[in-house]
């Protein structure tokens, strides 16, 4: 066995432990009896610790160095070199954080999460404040250990976006903000203000059945994927590309777009080259790229008139009481209602970006030490008012609304907006390559769309960075051009 093969075998163990943890997590959120929670926490703690130990052990480094030497002659661009590059990246990041700090953060976030839930319920930021302060201390410590040049936030970003700097994000988001604000003020948006048809009650089980049907339709067969219900929708690749799972809410609110969103994530992981299984390439390349796939399915497809030309009569059949007398046009405009609102996850395509930019600005200042946690609620409301023209009436509808900070995921938010930009860039290119796509969708055929995505995006897994992949496919850097053009065209606004 070559050193390279030995290294892959070792990485296989790291990969298997990750798969076990994902199943433990999925089960925790779907079917686990509640009394099992503490025991589950313990089991997951062990699995995550063993994974970290295997990944960052001296044996891994010895094998990695030997394998790198062995593969010196490999062709540039080969899978072998990409695999070695990504193992080195994971190893070097893992080895910088002592296991005690990993455990400390896990434990803190577990209690912080509970404090956040209480704070949100009680509308009282002060309950969460001491926990958030401790999390910021740990995040700054992690940033120091990882090392950085310009901004400590740069050291945290690679957990989500391996190939992106704070400086660059600031530039991209400044431009995006300017352009979004212009669209928000455009009178054409007046055509998209009424979503009362979606404010009706929709039976949760009927929504689930309908969403499962759509899931099969877009290419996730039962033998490869599941769709269940949970408190918060999510997608996880238990063993991508073979076993990918999504969830949606069990609610009477209209939740089918969130099912499509998670399906977009699932299709990405379902599409990774099977030969990459148990290698580091068998993963999504960045959270932005992951979000680009979910947002593409949710927005470019799931909020398009063409898609619903085929599906809306079927939806009407399923929900005759609610939709029989509602025209496709009314339904389409309800799906695309635009306007300021307090909750990010309920935001439309235009305002969504502003929600992210607010968070990005606040969290870079928190991590940069230029903003204290105590001042956060006030600053949140001030800046929200400046961006949206409305002020959150409660902290639950403001600073306490998102789970991310309680779980220590600083650096995650930018990926959401980058994902929207990338989705628009990819969709623009798809329409060039396959101009008949809108007609195909109207006839109920998604196969050319997903064939294109698999060939150009999904199959590569982590082989290319998000930036490189977008460049390879579209010939362009990541920017807001395509996204803004898409919004302008969709909502009938003049170009900015």
């Amino acid at each position: 066995m070559s050193d390279y093969q030995k290294l892959l075998e070792r990485w296989g163990i790291v990969s298997d432990l990750g798969a076990a943890d994902r199943l433990l997590d999925w089960d925790e959120q779907t079917f686990m009896p509640h009394a099992g929670a503490d025991a589950r926490g313990q089991v997951r703690g062990t699995i995550v610790l063993l994974r970290a130990q295997y990944l960052s052990s001296p044996e891994t480094l010895v094998l990695l160095q030997a394998a790198e030497k062995e593969q010196q002659g490999a062709a540039a661009g080969s899978d072998e070199l990409a695999i070695l590059r990504e193992i080195r990246r994971d190893y070097e990041r893992a080895v910088k954080i002592p296991p005690t700090l990993v455990a400390q953060k896990a434990q803190l976030c577990s209690t912080a999460h509970i404090a956040w839930l209480s704070a949100k319920k009680a509308n009282d930021f002060s309950i969460f404040q001491p926990y958030l302060e401790k999390i910021i201390v740990i995040e700054r410590k992690r940033a120091e250990l990882f090392g950085y040049e310009a901004h400590p936030y740069d050291a945290l970003l690679p957990d989500f976006e391996p190939d992106m700097s704070t400086e660059e994000l600031k530039g991209t988001f400044a431009e995006l903000k300017r352009r979004l604000v212009a669209i928000c003020q455009h009178p054409a948006l007046q055509n998209f203000t009424d979503d009362t048809v979606l404010q009706q009650d929709f039976d949760p089980d009927e929504q689930l059945q309908f969403s499962r049907r759509m899931m099969r339709h877009v290419g996730l067969e039962a033998k490869h994927g599941r769709l269940d219900t949970t408190e918060h929708p999510f997608m996880t690749g238990i063993a991508s590309p073979f076993d990918v799972r999504t969830t949606m809410r069990s609610t009477t609110r209209f939740d089918i777009l969130s099912a499509l969103h998670e399906c977009g994530h699932a299709l990405y992981e379902r599409g990774i080259k099977p030969a990459y299984f148990r290698t580091p390439l068998n993963e999504i390349t960045s959270m932005a790229m992951h979000e680009s796939q979910s947002r593409l399915l949710e927005n470019h497809i799931g909020r398009s008139r063409e898609f619903w030309t085929y599906w809306y009569p079927r939806l009407q059949e399923r929900f005759p009481v609610q939709l029989e007398s509602v025209s496709l046009d009314s339904y389409y405009r309800a799906l695309n209602k635009v306007g300021p609102s307090f909750i990010r996850t309920e935001a439309d395509e235009v305002y969504y970006g502003l929600h992210i930019i607010l968070r990005f600005e606040l969290e870079t200042d928190l991590i940069g030490g230029r903003l204290s946690v105590a001042d956060l609620p006030e600053l949140w409301n001030e800046r929200f008012e400046a961006l949206f023209g409305i002020t959150p009436p409660t902290s639950s509808q403001g600073v306490l609304q998102d789970v991310h900070w309680s779980s220590g995921s600083f650096g995650y938010f930018p990926s959401y907006s980058l994902g929207n930009l990338v989705a628009a860039q990819l969709y623009e290119k798809i329409l060039v390559d396959q101009p008949s796509l809108p007609q195909d969708l109207a006839l109920g055929d998604c196969s050319s769309l997903f064939g294109w995505l698999r060939t150009n995006v999904h199959q590569h897994g982590r082989k290319y960075s998000a930036r490189q992949l977008v460049k390879n496919v579209t010939g362009k850097e990541i920017s807001s051009d395509a996204f803004i053009a898409y919004l302008n065209a969709k909502f009938g606004c003049a170009a900015d």
Copy 2:
């Protein structure tokens, strides 16, 4: 931290890896998309290997020896000493089998299982024969590595019955056989020959709902347990005593007794003292003791007139078409139909023991080298005919019916019959301690039964051997006396 505590911490990792594997297994059998099977096999292989490595590593021995020294002054009968005893037992068994042989057996059994399925489907033993021959070779090798004095089968038994010898089983089973054959010939059995009312179709989902209701009733709350459907019913303690799960078939055949059977297993693991969590005492003490709990609920309760005095009207309500005009007495006698049949899992309480004895005799001869696999089918049919008076028309209904040999579980079968004997011994004692139990059951109250079982049996986990526990509780050795007395009383046969 004391060495004892360090040892417990290390055993906690072994325990957590076991829990992860049980969830991977449960999911594989319940909800996993089929295409995930190969990846799942790989993940489970890794988890099982890591568990074996942690258990049998030199560090474990060093800690164990230090902890044993540290606890030399502990009181006889203390939990600490029992924990050390059981860790040593697990360690010493694990260390005797090289990981390569563990992997070799796992791989062989995985292919043998598929060959067995094909052989069973095709009614052709020769498809399975070469695999079974290899499995016997491995089992004999394992027996040599474990070491034994009288019979190689003695070395395999401890996987299921830590405290039992082949010689002793031969004695117990010889007497049981004589007594069962006497009952089989008794004319009183003529009152229990008609189960046509149970041969009707019962809606699978209604059976599931009804079984879930019974499960809650016997004390398994939703926050601690689940009941789902699978191809083959099973119970697994994902994290006993907090999270225990059972399954039943999704079939139109009447399958409620098998749900009760699995509930009996689940109640055992649900009842283990929470303080034993992540120690070796947090396990059932033997498969016979496990079976005693499932058979007690299935037979002594689930086939009793008293239990159904309360439940039968509720069952009739659920299945009016099938049962409205069927009296409790007819239903009771259908549940207890006695007669020779080919399939062990469908056998009644009387003939079941003969099925086990047949297998025990054959597998001790196979492991002892006194019977070749090639001669097995013929010998099966000959001995079956001698015991049951009927000859299996096909190998699927004969030698190929059970999964156990294809999974290399030699030594498992005796536990089933021992479980029946122990169940009867325990139930005899319960009726002495709580003479009002039959009336309680008729009024729909199981709480005194499960209170008794928890106090006397469940809570102890692996602290006492099955033999010791039966002795502690009933004052007697394991024997067929109580079981035979129970059958004689139930079916109205004269004492033998």
